[in-house]
């Protein structure tokens, strides 16, 4: 009789990285535009 039951644990973790200013840091590359449209075109 063969009984194989290797225990493989599953991990489910979450965490937050905060910037030095205290805001949440993400890897999303969102471009923030400062200034008016004319400046962006120049």
């Amino acid at each position: 009789m063969k009984l194989e039951m290797p225990i493989k644990i599953k991990l489910n973790g979450k965490g937050v990285v905060y910037k030095k200013d205290g805001t949440v840091k993400t890897d999303n590359k969102e471009e923030k535009v400062n200034g008016n449209a004319d400046n962006r075109r120049s």
Binding site: M5, G13, K14, G15, D27
Partner: protein, 131 residues
């Protein structure tokens, strides 16, 4: 197919997470590192009793754990859980896993950690599946 009962899953899960509390000189420790553990980016202590009792084969952290000032700058790729501070020279690794932003064992809002930034782990469930 072999199957574990819920009682057996809970017992196995509790046995695993209780190892984190077994360090002789300090609380359990979690380290977030770069690939291969080359650089420790952030490190934090577990509570004296790191995990609550398992239910339905899953044990959850006793509470959030954090490092208020990351040790180094780099890209997080792995985490390692020890029964006490490794620097003490006697820490034993209990388990480890991958770090990413999705689909990893530990998903952070960003894998780019800069020294002195703060890192908080809010969840690190350990599950022993039925089969």
């Amino acid at each position: 197919m072999a199957t574990l009962t819920t009682a057996a899953r809970n017992a196995a899960c509790n046995a695993i997470v209780d190892l984190i509390d077994a360090g002789v000189s300090a609380n359990g420790r979690l380290e977030i590192t770069t690939t291969g553990g080359a650089s420790v980016l952030a490190s934090m202590d577990f509570a004296a009793t790191a995990y609550g009792a398992a239910s339905s084969g899953t044990a959850s952290l006793s509470g959030s754990i954090s490092d208020s000032s990351a040790d180094n700058t780099g890209t997080a790729a792995e985490f390692h859980v020890y029964d006490e501070t490794v620097a003490a020279g006697s820490g034993n690794e209990i388990f480890s896993g991958t770090v990413g932003t999705s689909g990893a064992d530990l998903n952070l809002t960003s894998t780019s950690i800069v020294a002195t930034e703060s890192v908080t782990i809010t969840q690190l469930d350990v599950t022993v599946p039925a089969s």
